[in-house]
């Protein structure tokens, strides 16, 4: 009984690490630019496929992580500057922008379906002996995933709290006009945001496929609900909130899977979303003043 719970919680922490990496990127991007980017899942999948291509040529999964991060960063910067900014200049508001990102998500998802020939590819990393810690048995890969999540969280918090760039990022998320008036180079900060959130997005894609051991064109799309729910629950623009929310959702999902059958573990994610809506209405309430996009 207790053993089942303990190992379910451990698996929950592994899943939470994957959600958290994606949700941290999402929450920075959303908090700063105000673009609710529904193509985020598609860009995760791009990162995953990039890593798959690298490792299938014989390089190790570490290179896959690096390549996935770079791919995510570049694609995000290109769509941010090349597509989203164009719509923002034409006067798109938050809702139109969300529909644009949904259209872009469709283009990315089905473009990847076309390129991947609608197949699911196996993605395996070298497995070694599992580590047992009392009732909890984790593979070294899972431990590494938790480590990556933790390292990224600490690094991101350090960047935001201790450096001048982080201060500028936080200032822009709080009030873009005031930040600009204070002499912050807002254009460069937006570019940095696209790169940073895109890198986290690509990394999350790679970590996700390392965990699930396969990659297909729907990988990111199926994962996106959990990421968005975590970002909203944690509060837009707050990596710490996103990590806590990810832990909650990861553990809930895995505990439900352990006891109630895997069928309903996704429904549990749905339950968390309902709780978000009912318990934190302030997170999603209308703020008229906050409907402006910050893209330049």
């Amino acid at each position: 009984m207790f053993d089942t719970l303990a190992s379910a919680v451990a698996f929950g922490v592994v899943l939470a690490s994957v959600i958290a990496i994606a949700a941290m990127g999402f929450t920075i991007q959303f908090g700063l630019t105000n673009v609710l980017n529904l193509s985020y899942g598609g860009i995760m999948t791009i990162g995953g496929f990039a890593a798959y291509l690298v490792t299938s040529h014989g390089l190790s999964a570490w290179y896959g992580l690096a390549v996935g991060a770079v791919a995510g960063a570049i694609v995000t910067l290109v769509v941010g500057r090349g597509i989203f900014a164009v719509y923002a200049r034409r006067g798109a508001r938050v809702f139109e922008m969300m529909m644009v990102t949904l259209g872009l998500g469709l283009v990315i998802d089905y473009g990847l379906q076309a390129l991947s020939r609608n197949n699911i590819y196996e993605f395996t990393v070298l497995q070694s002996t599992p580590i047992s810690l009392g009732p909890i048995i984790l593979t070294p890969t899972q431990v590494i995933i938790i480590g990556i999540g933790l390292a990224l969280f600490v690094g991101l918090e350090a960047l935001l709290r201790l450096t001048k760039i982080g201060k500028a990022l936080r200032a822009m998320a709080a009030d873009p006009a005031l930040a600009r008036a204070c002499g912050i180079r807002t254009r460069q900060i937006v570019v940095l945001t696209w790169l940073l959130s895109g890198a986290l997005c690509g990394l999350a894609g790679v970590v996700y496929i390392i965990n699930s051991q396969s990659v297909g064109y729907t990988t990111g799309e199926l994962f996106l609900p959990l990421v968005i729910a975590a970002a909203i629950l944690g509060g837009a623009g707050s990596p710490a909130g996103a990590v806590l929310a990810s832990l909650l959702m990861g553990i809930v999902t895995q505990v439900v899977a352990a006891y109630g059958g895997s069928l309903y573990s996704t429904a549990a994610g749905f339950g968390v979303l309902v709780i978000v809506l009912l318990s934190r209405p302030s997170a999603v309430l209308t703020k008229q003043a906050n409907e402006e996009l910050t893209l330049a």
Binding site: L36, V107, L278
Partner: protein, 340 residues
């Protein structure tokens, strides 16, 4: 010749069903500003309910699929139940997701609801037979003494009857005080609230009305094609109808008809006649890519659609009851003759 007739009657049925979907979404988004990116689950619940209540019991010899609501009800009842199911699901979803929030949040939450519903129905075989879906739904108009080809046209006519009825109903609704309240809510939510409109109730009402139409369209669709499975209701299907009403023009019904004619019918059917390139299935993927690009292009070059909504203009001739001297010009205008 008869192959063409068969093909065109099939297109006519799809056109009618897509017009119903477009009317539903246009009422919700075009008139009321409620973003329903979960549209397809309301159509889908209608389809499943219509199928399950017509298929008969799922136990006994020869039973190869499992579903809830098993019954074998006579002809029009499954369709009625499908309509009600769409409305009921819309009511339930609307109750917890239609809070006052930013429209992009609203859209994202609806999209998530749609994705999760798809995962649950796919995974849980006991609901509606999981990923295999339901097949063998009986043809509803089989009592007609006609051949297969005439049946096609009879069904198309049957769908068009609903199209016209729903169109007239929704046009009446949107010109009523309730319809003007919806537009007020869409354009100036706070002002609408300030003059005493209950925004939450209005949103829920328009959501349920749209859900009823969606359920009806799903029932009509499944009784035509005879099968329904999770492959038929990805989020992309909702996006096609959204693209149609954005391309055609939001907030008016000519725009809906034009958009549905252009996007799901002409656009998606023309590709059937292009030579197949690459491996099988490549064209299907590229079709979705192009739909996504079409939407993005539409929003860039013609954000209000091909036939934009006419803004109401308060002229003397329009304000009939309050400007009696304008009665004659008003009537002439209504009758379409030039005002002297």
């Amino acid at each position: 010749m008869s192959a063409w007739s068969y093909y065109i009657s099939t297109l006519a049925v799809y056109f009618g069903i897509d017009v119903l979907s477009g009317i539903s979404l246009n009422l919700q988004y075009g008139y009321a500003g409620v973003v329903n990116l979960a549209f397809i689950i309301f159509q889908s619940v209608g389809a499943y309910v219509a199928a399950a209540t017509a298929l008969g019991p799922d136990t006994g010899a020869g039973a190869f699929q499992h579903y809830i609501f098993a019954a074998s009800l006579p002809f029009p009842i499954p369709l009625v139940l499908a309509t009600l199911a769409g409305g009921a699901l819309a009511g339930v979803v609307g109750l917890f997701s239609l809070r006052r929030m930013r429209r992009d949040y609203q859209g994202a939450i609806m999209l998530i609801v749609s994705l999760i519903a798809l995962q649950v129905v796919t995974a849980d075989v006991s609901l509606f037979n999981g990923s295999n879906g339901l097949t063998g739904v009986p043809k509803p108009l089989s009592f007609l003494p006609v051949g297969p080809l005439s049946y096609q046209w009879a069904y198309a006519g049957w769908v068009f009857v609903f199209c016209v009825a729903v169109y007239l109903l929704v046009r009446w609704l949107s010109r009523s005080p309730w319809g003007r309240a919806l537009k007020a809510m869409r354009d100036q939510e706070e002002a609408a609230s300030a003059i005493g409109l209950n925004i939450t109730v209005l949103r829920l009402q328009v959501f349920v009305v749209g859900g009823l139409i969606a359920g009806l369209s799903g029932g009509l669709l499944v009784e035509y094609i005879g099968a329904w499975s999770p492959g038929a209701w990805g989020y992309a299907e909702t996006f096609v109808i959204f693209t149609a009403i954005f391309v055609g023009g939001l907030g008016n019904y000519r725009g809906v008809v034009l958009g549905v004619l252009l996007v799901p019918v002409v656009f998606l059917q023309v590709t059937q006649f292009l030579p197949q390139i690459g491996y099988p299935g490549l064209m299907d993927s590229l079709e979705w890519v192009v739909i996504g690009l079409l939407f993005m292009l539409c929003l860039l070059v013609r954000p209000r659609g091909i036939l934009p909504e006419r803004k109401p203009v308060a002229t003397e001739a329009n304000a009939f009851p309050f400007a009696t001297p304008g009665l004659l010009p008003y009537l002439r205008r209504r009758l379409g003759r030039p005002v002297a």
